[in-house]
C-alpha cells in the first residue's frame, strides 16, 4: 500500500509549554502521492501532529521532545516553519484564515512568497482551474468571501506554493454538505493530477475515508489503529465511533444514542 515513503514520523512526543504532553509516541508513514487521513475525536492530537510536521508548533510554544520526523531522508523535527515550507510542506490551517484586506488574487500571490522560482500566470490559472468560483471573485476582498470560498482560497493559496506534501486541517469545518463534497472531490483531483501527497485531518470521517487511501485513528495522543481506508471503513469500531453506523448497518438515529459507550477493541 505505502510504496515510497515521503514522510516518516518516528515515535514523536510533543509537549506544549514544557508540561502538557499531547503526543505520546506517535509513528506514521506517509506514502508518496497518497492521501492519508488522520481521524480522532477532539483533543486526540491530530492538529498537533500536523503542526509537528509543518513546524508550526513553535508559535504555540510546543516542541517535539522525542522522536524524529524524516522527510525524504532528512530530519525536520523542530526545524523552523519557513525552512519546512521551502521543502514543499504546506499546511492549510484550521479555520482557513485569509488576509482579509487583500483581494482573492492578492491572497493567492502571497502563497508564492516562500517558494523558489518566479510567480507566473500559469500558477494562478491552475488554481482557477480547480476552483472556478475564485476566478469570479478574484478582485473582491477576501474578508467578504463565504466560508466555502475561503476554504477554496486557503487550499488554492497552498497550491500556489507548489507543495509536495499538503497538510489539510479540517477542510470541511462549518461547510454545507454539498460544498464539502465538492471540495473533497477537488482535493482528490489535485492528488491525482498534480501528484501532490496529502494528509487530511477530519472530523467528517466518512468523507475522509472515501477520499483517502490510508488512514490512522488517534486517541489520547496515540495511534490506536491504522489501515487502508477501505479496511477502516469496514472495521466495527470505526463504524460505531466514527461513521455513526449501527451494527445493523443502518444509520444511527438520535433515539439509539446511548448514555454509555460500547467498549472499543481497536483490532
Amino acid at each position: 500500500m505505502k510504496k515510497d515513503i515521503l514522510l516518516q514520523i518516528n515515535n514523536i512526543s510533543v509537549v506544549y509549554s514544557d508540561v502538557i504532553q499531547i503526543l505520546k509516541g506517535v509513528s506514521l508513514a506517509i506514502g508518496e502521492k497518497q492521501i492519508v487521513s488522520l481521524l480522532g475525536s477532539n483533543g486526540a492530537g491530530k492538529t498537533t501532529t500536523l503542526r509537528a510536521i509543518s513546524g508550526l508548533l513553535k508559535p504555540e510554544n510546543g516542541a517535539v521532545t522525542e522522536g524524529t520526523i524524516e522527510y525524504e531522508g532528512r530530519s525536520i523535527q523542530n526545524a523552523p516553519p519557513e525552512t519546512i515550507t521551502r521543502l514543499g510542506i504546506i499546511q492549510v490551517l484550521e479555520g482557513r484564515p485569509p488576509f482579509e484586506h487583500l483581494t482573492v488574487e492578492e491572497n493567492l500571490r502571497v502563497g508564492t512568497a516562500a517558494r523558489s522560482g518566479r510567480f507566473s500566470k500559469q500558477d494562478l490559472d491552475l488554481v482557477y482551474h480547480y476552483f472556478p468560483p475564485l476566478l469570479a471573485r478574484k478582485r473582491s476582498l477576501a474578508g467578504y468571501c463565504s466560508g466555502g470560498e475561503l476554504q477554496m482560497l486557503a487550499i488554492g493559496r497552498a497550491l500556489m506554493a507548489k507543495p509536495r506534501l499538503l497538510l489539510l486541517d479540517e477542510p470541511s469545518l462549518g461547510l454545507a454538505p454539498l460544498l464539502v463534497k465538492e471540495i473533497f472531490e477537488i482535493v482528490g483531483r489535485i492528488n491525482k493530477e498534480q501528484g501532490t501527497t496529502i494528509v487530511v485531518v477530519e472530523q467528517n470521517a466518512s468523507m475522509a475515508l472515501q477520499l483517502a487511501h490510508y488512514g490512522y485513528v488517534m486517541e489520547n495522543g496515540k495511534i490506536v489503529m491504522e489501515g487502508a481506508a477501505s479496511e477502516l471503513r469496514e472495521n466495527p469500531d470505526v463504524k460505531e465511533f466514527y461513521l455513526g453506523i449501527a451494527s445493523s448497518g443502518t444509520l444511527k438515529t438520535y433515539k439509539d444514542v446511548k448514555a454509555y459507550k460500547r467498549r472499543k477493541r481497536w483490532l
Binding site: N10, G25, E66, G67, M225, E226, P236, D237, E240, K258
Partner: protein, 647 residues
C-alpha cells in the same frame, strides 16, 4: 502492629455468628447510629459518606420496596452492579426479606447474563445502568421469570420510562417508604425471621474448564470466615476497606459484606475503575486483597516509572531495592538480620520506601494480600523489599474465600502459608488439597452430583494439587486437571511456568502448551504499555498492538525475557518455541474468565492452528481471527504470526 483490635471483642463476634448480614447491620446501626461512618463513596470528585444509621435506612427502604413489589422468601435476586453503595443496599435488602442474591459482572455479555439469571430463576434484577438494562431488554423473551428490573443510574433512561418492566432504584425506595408508613413493624418482623444457616448468596464460579457452577454460601459460612480474619489480623473498627474487586467475585463478598459488617470497617467506593489509583491514595486502606494481576501491574508500573526517572533517583532506588531484597532473603531463610543491615533498611525506608508506597497509596497498608491466581515469587520479593507486607494467600469461592495465608514473620515467597483457625487442610493421595472448615459452602445450586463430588467425606476437594513444605507451609502446584505431561511422560504445571513468565514487565499473559508433545511452547501477550515505552525509548516506530507485537526488536526483547526465565526452570519445563499473539486475550472473546483467568480449552480451540505450527517447521503463519464486540458484531482480523525458536 496492633490497631483497634480491642474494640471487637470475642463476645460480640460469637453473637454475630448466629445472625444474618442484615441482622448484624441492624445491631451495628443501633450501636453507633449516626455517629460513625459506614460507607464512603466518591462522586464527582467528592467523598460522600453514609453513617450506619443511613446505611440501615436505605436497606430498610429497599427491602420494603422489594416486598411491596412481591419478592417472596426463598426467591433469588440478580444483581448486576459495579462497586457502589447500591450494591450493598440491594443485596442486604433482598437478604433482609429472606431472598438470596447472585451478583453478575457488569462486563458480561448478554448471553452470560441470561445464563446466570435463568439458572437461578431470578425474580428481580437490580441493574447498574442503561447498558445493563439494554442487555436485559435484548434477552427479555428468555427472562420471563424476571418480574421487574430495577435500574440504579437514571442517565439516558428517559425514553424507557413507559416500559412497565423497568423501575428505578429511587422509585423502589419510594415504594419502601410507603409500605413503611402503612405497616411500621414489617421490616423488623421480616428481619427476625432470618437464620444464620439460611442461604445468603450464590457466586458463579469462574469456569476455566467449562460451564460456570453456582456456589451457595450461607451467612454462617461467610461470618465464620470473617471471624477467622478478625481473630488473626490487625484490623478492626473504623479501618478502611476499598471496594475494587467486582461484587460478583468472592473477595468483596467475604470482605465488603462479611468482614466490613462484622468488623465495623468502613467501605470505600472509588469513583470509577479508572480512578482507583488516585482514590486509593486518598483512602489509604488498612488491608487489601486483590488479584495477583493488580500487584503485577503495580510492580511493572513502578519499574517503568523508576526507569523514566532521573539518574540520582534511579541510583538511590536501585541501592535501596538491593538492601531491601537482602533483608527479605535473610528473613525468608529465617536468618537473623545483622544490625548494620537493619540500620540500612531503616535509612532506605526513610528516603525511598515510605514515599514510594505513599505515592501508590499503600503506605497505610498493614497487610496486602494477593490471591486468585499464583503470583510470581519475584513480585512478592519486589514488594516486600520496599517494605510492603505483601503475602500470598490461597482460597476459593467454595470455601468462602481465603483460608490459607502466610503468617507475619514467616513469609516465604513460594508458599501460600498456613491455615486460619478452625481450618484443616490435608493433602490427598493424588496430591489434591482438601479443606475442612465451617466456612465450606453448602453446595452447588441444583447440582447434587457436583456437590457430592466436591464435598465427599466432609472434605472440600479444591481441585488444586499441592504439598506441604518442611515448615508446614502449603505450596500450590496448579490445577490438578491442568497438570500436563510431555511426550516423554514428564509432568509439568503450565501455571507454574506461566506465572514465572508473567513477572517480566513486558509480558502481560502467557499460555503454555505441551500436553503429549515433545517440547513446551508458549503463546505470549506482550504488555502494550511497558513494551510500548521500551520501543519508544529505542526509537522503534509502532502504531497498534498488532503492529507492536510483530516488531522484530520486540520479539527479540521477549525472547530474551523468556530465555532468562528458562534458566531458572528445570530441564523439561524449558520453553522451546513461542509466538507473540496479535491481540490480547480477552473475556469478550471467551478466552479469559471475567476474573481474568485463562480458559485453556477455549484458547486451545481458538488458536489450534497456531499451536500446531509451534510443533512444526513453519515460520510465518497467516491467520484470520475473530474479534467479538459488545453489541454482538464480530470483526475479522487478518495478519501473520511468526514462530520464534529459543535455542
Amino acid at each position: 502492629m496492633k490497631a483497634n483490635r480491642g474494640h471487637i471483642d470475642e463476645r460480640t463476634l460469637s453473637a454475630f455468628s448466629k445472625l444474618t448480614f442484615p441482622q448484624i447491620l441492624d445491631k451495628r446501626a443501633k450501636q453507633w447510629g449516626s455517629t460513625s461512618i459506614a460507607i464512603r463513596e466518591k462522586a464527582y470528585g467528592i467523598w460522600e459518606t453514609y453513617t450506619w444509621h443511613e446505611y440501615l435506612n436505605y436497606v430498610k427502604q429497599a427491602a420494603l420496596g422489594l416486598l411491596s413489589l412481591g419478592l417472596k422468601r426463598g426467591e433469588c435476586v440478580g444483581i448486576i452492579t459495579d462497586n457502589h453503595p447500591e450494591w450493598l443496599f440491594s443485596e442486604l435488602a433482598a437478604q433482609a426479606v429472606g431472598a438470596s442474591t447472585l451478583n453478575l459482572y457488569t462486563s458480561s455479555v448478554t448471553k452470560e447474563l441470561t445464563f446466570g439469571l435463568n439458572r437461578i430463576q431470578a425474580a428481580y434484577v437490580v441493574a447498574q445502568d442503561q447498558e445493563q438494562v439494554d442487555k436485559l431488554l435484548e434477552a427479555r423473551k428468555e427472562l420471563s421469570h424476571c418480574r421487574r428490573i430495577i435500574y440504579i443510574d437514571r442517565t439516558g433512561m428517559r425514553t424507557y420510562q413507559d416500559n412497565p418492566w423497568l423501575l428505578s432504584f429511587a422509585e423502589l425506595l419510594e415504594l419502601g417508604k410507603a409500605l413503611q408508613k402503612k405497616n411500621p413493624g414489617r421490616f423488623e418482623k421480616e428481619l427476625r425471621k432470618g437464620k444464620a444457616s439460611d442461604l445468603a448468596l450464590m457466586i458463579m464460579t469462574s469456569g476455566t474448564t467449562g460451564l460456570p457452577k453456582f456456589a451457595m454460601l450461607s451467612y454462617e459460612n461467610i461470618i465464620d470466615m470473617a471471624r477467622k480474619w478478625l481473630e488473626t489480623s490487625p484490623i478492626g473498627l473504623g479501618d478502611n476497606w476499598i471496594s475494587i474487586t467486582p461484587p460478583a467475585w468472592i473477595v468483596d463478598q467475604m470482605w465488603g459484606m462479611g468482614l466490613a459488617l462484622c468488623g465495623g470497617m468502613v467501605m470505600n467506593f472509588p469513583e470509577t475503575p479508572e480512578t482507583v489509583t488516585e482514590d486509593l491514595r486518598e483512602v489509604g486502606p488498612a488491608i487489601m486483597i486483590t488479584s495477583s494481576r493488580f500487584w503485577e501491574d503495580l510492580a511493572s508500573k513502578i519499574r517503568v516509572k523508576i526507569s523514566d526517572s532521573g539518574i540520582i533517583k534511579r541510583g538511590l532506588y536501585h541501592l535501596c531495592q538491593r538492601i531491601g531484597e537482602t533483608a527479605v532473603d535473610r528473613e525468608s531463610k529465617k536468618q537473623p538480620i545483622p544490625r548494620w543491615l537493619g540500620f540500612f533498611v531503616r535509612v532506605a525506608s526513610g528516603i525511598i520506601y515510605r514515599s514510594l508506597l505513599d505515592r501508590v497509596g499503600c503506605s497505610q497498608l498493614r497487610a496486602a494480600i494477593t490471591g486468585g491466581h499464583p503470583i510470581s515469587p519475584d513480585v512478592i520479593r519486589f514488594f516486600r523489599a520496599i517494605g510492603l507486607n505483601l503475602k500470598q494467600a490461597y482460597g476459593l469461592t467454595e470455601a468462602s474465600g481465603v483460608f490459607q495465608v502466610q503468617p507475619d514473620g514467616e513469609v516465604k515467597p513460594e508458599t501460600v502459608g498456613k491455615s486460619l483457625p478452625r481450618t484443616e487442610v490435608r493433602i490427598a493421595d493424588d496430591q489434591e488439597v482438601l479443606v475442612a472448615s465451617p466456612s465450606n459452602f453448602i453446595g452447588y445450586y441444583e447440582d447434587p452430583t457436583e456437590t457430592a463430588a466436591t464435598l465427599a467425606d466432609g472434605w472440600l476437594h479444591t481441585g488444586d494439587a499441592g504439598y506441604f513444605d518442611a515448615d508446614g507451609h502449603l505450596v500450590i502446584i496448579g490445577r490438578k486437571q491442568e497438570i500436563m505431561r510431555t511426550k516423554e511422560g514428564e509432568a509439568f504445571s503450565p501455571d507454574f511456568i506461566e506465572t514465572r513468565l508473567k513477572f517480566s514487565p513486558y509480558i502481560k499473559e502467557a499460555v503454555i502448551f505441551g500436553e503429549g508433545m515433545p517440547h513446551i511452547a508458549a503463546m505470549i501477550n506482550i504488555d502494550m504499555e511497558t513494551s510500548g515505552d521500551w520501543a519508544k525509548d529505542r526509537q522503534i516506530p509502532y502504531t497498534t498492538y498488532t503492529d507492536l507485537s510483530q516488531q522484530s526488536a520486540v520479539e527479540e526483547l521477549i525472547c530474551n525475557e523468556v530465555r532468562a526465565v528458562n534458566q531458572r526452570l528445570p530441564g523439561h519445563m524449558k520453553v522451546h518455541k513461542m509466538l507473540l499473539l496479535y491481540k490480547l486475550l480477552d473475556a469478550d472473546d471467551q478466552e479469559l474468565t471475567r476474573t481474568g483467568k485463562v480458559r485453556r480449552k477455549y484458547v486451545y480451540e481458538q488458536y489450534n492452528n497456531l499451536i500446531e505450527a509451534m510443533y512444526g517447521d513453519q515460520r510465518d503463519i497467516a491467520v484470520k481471527g475473530n474479534v467479538r464486540y459488545r453489541d454482538g458484531t464480530v470483526g475479522i482480523i487478518e495478519t501473520t504470526v511468526r514462530i520464534l525458536t529459543l535455542a
